[in-house]
Amino acid sequence: MATKNKKLSLKDKYQYLTRDMAWEPSYQKKEDIFPYERFEGIKITDWDKWEDPFRLTMDAYWKYQAEKEKKLYAIFDAFAQNNGHQNISDARYVNALKLFLTGVSPLEYGAFQGYAKVGRHFSGAGARVACQMQSIDELRHVQTQIHAMSHYNKHFNGLHDFAHMHDRVWFLSVPKSFFDDARSAGPFEFLTAISFSFEYVLTNLLFVPFMSGAAYNGDMATVTFGFSAQSDEARHMTLGLEVIKFMLEQHEDNVPIVQHWIDKWFWRGYRLLSLVSMMMDYMLPNKVMSWKDAWEVYYEQNGGALFKDLERYGIRPPKYQDEANKGKHHISHQLWSTFYQYSQATNFHTWIPSEAEMNWLSEQYPDTFDKYYRPRFEHWQKQQEKGERFYNNTLPQLCQVCQVPTLFTEPDDPTQLSHRSLVHDGERYHFCSDGCCDIFKHEPEKYIQAWLPVHQIYQGNCEGADVETVVAKYYHINIGQDNFEYLGSPDHRRWQAIKGNKPLGAGDSKDAA
């Protein structure tokens, strides 16, 4: 029998293959099956109102994802076969990848687990399908990132034990605690934190201008995984915006709860992304865009349009947005200065920017760089030239919430360190800002449990009582290989050999695995 194969419209296909595949439970109570759906106070009256504008069904999902993977792995192969690492702008660039692999890639894995969990705990079929797809996407992201960087691991130091480091190294507790905080929240807060505040509002700053920068520095493998991951992100961002609109449309009581989460997670995300500010301004030898410009385009302009759109629901921009906007002139410099001082305890190298780079920073930051930051770098440079490269041997005080050392300055006075503290239950806790202090006040029971790396070292929980032992034994950082100044490091010498400037010395070679 010949029947014409009539194609379903996108809308019908989505309806049949997602919503109509769900069923109402008959022998268990819904509340027992979905026990986490109510405790946060979010009221959902009709899950069918959930919109998924991409209307992606499983068959289309696999088709497009398979296509992306084929393209991506062809490029990884070509990159490795042609020794693509030899064509990057400068080996200093690889240090950004070391930070990426230890700081960002494990978050992709955390996101995979997080979406798998909340996908299980929503009773609405549309939300479940969207979370399931995102969960699989995130797993793909961590895998492709590890594959891309495995090539660099054959030729450069500091990439050998990223998962172990992520769980232990002092500055990596910043990204790790961010995701742990989100994953230990309820399902609606998790989506507000990760899908909305992180994916929609903030991750453009990492995956768009930074990846464009990777391309500009000759790193074909990274730009390709970055943009391949980001092609999934368009869906994730849409989920982020839809989940916010859905919660706000379902019940007016949801508005203050959602507003509080937006305030909290904007600030948490902003602090986390300070790491990216430093990657863009200091770790890309070929500059593509300053952190300040990226912030203006991707937060001030895009976030402005977004929050204007959400006004109709009674949502205002995040509480500490103005502080963040002021910080765009400062945070990358303050953070790089800190990492410069603590390179003895990092899996990547730091350096003083070259004269040309400092001039670029002066141009990009006319109001702040020459006035506040250039003199500091020039002072350190003189010390370094005298053979007294500065390392700070005092462990820094960490913020109880974001876990960044309290290195940032007051929003209106770049000569004053910003520091807040309060007493809770007889103990004093310290914070980097009003934003983080507010977050603590609202949920002290959660944040008093923070695993703060400096406290843990002093308490004797990190396999040693001095920095050297902790770095070597507990962090698995190879001393003299992975850490300290870039100039004269094994990576630097290897790069000079690659470029034909200097033969490899004894002990410089890193055999291909």
Binding site: N204, A215, S231, A234, R235, D309, R312
Partner: protein
């Protein structure tokens, strides 16, 4: 205040036709070229029409194929078989 909808594509062979189609259908849009990527922004609204893309690319084109080349978007999404729209509504 200005509200810009935007879309960013990888700078590859497919996307160049998409960008051509978008520029034709959105005369108010601004096309920006960055390393490895093309960013298009427009006040309030941006539309991709399947018909225009098919004309440019010279074959049948499924709106969901844009998922292969897109990097980022800004605006509320409205997609069906014939178009993909990004729009700020307020």
């Amino acid at each position: 205040m200005s509200q810009l909808a935007f879309i960013v594509f990888q700078d590859n062979d497919n996307a160049r036709y998409l960008v051509e189609a978008i520029a034709e259908d959105n005369p108010h849009a601004e096309v920006q070229h960055h390393p490895a990527m093309i960013r298009i922004q427009a006040e309030q609204r941006l539309v991709i029409n399947r018909h225009t893309v098919e004309e440019k690319i010279g074959r049948e084109w499924d709106v969901q194929e844009m998922l292969l080349d897109v990097i980022s978007i800004g605006g509320n999404v409205d997609e069906d078989d014939d178009h993909f729209i990004l729009e700020w509504k307020n």
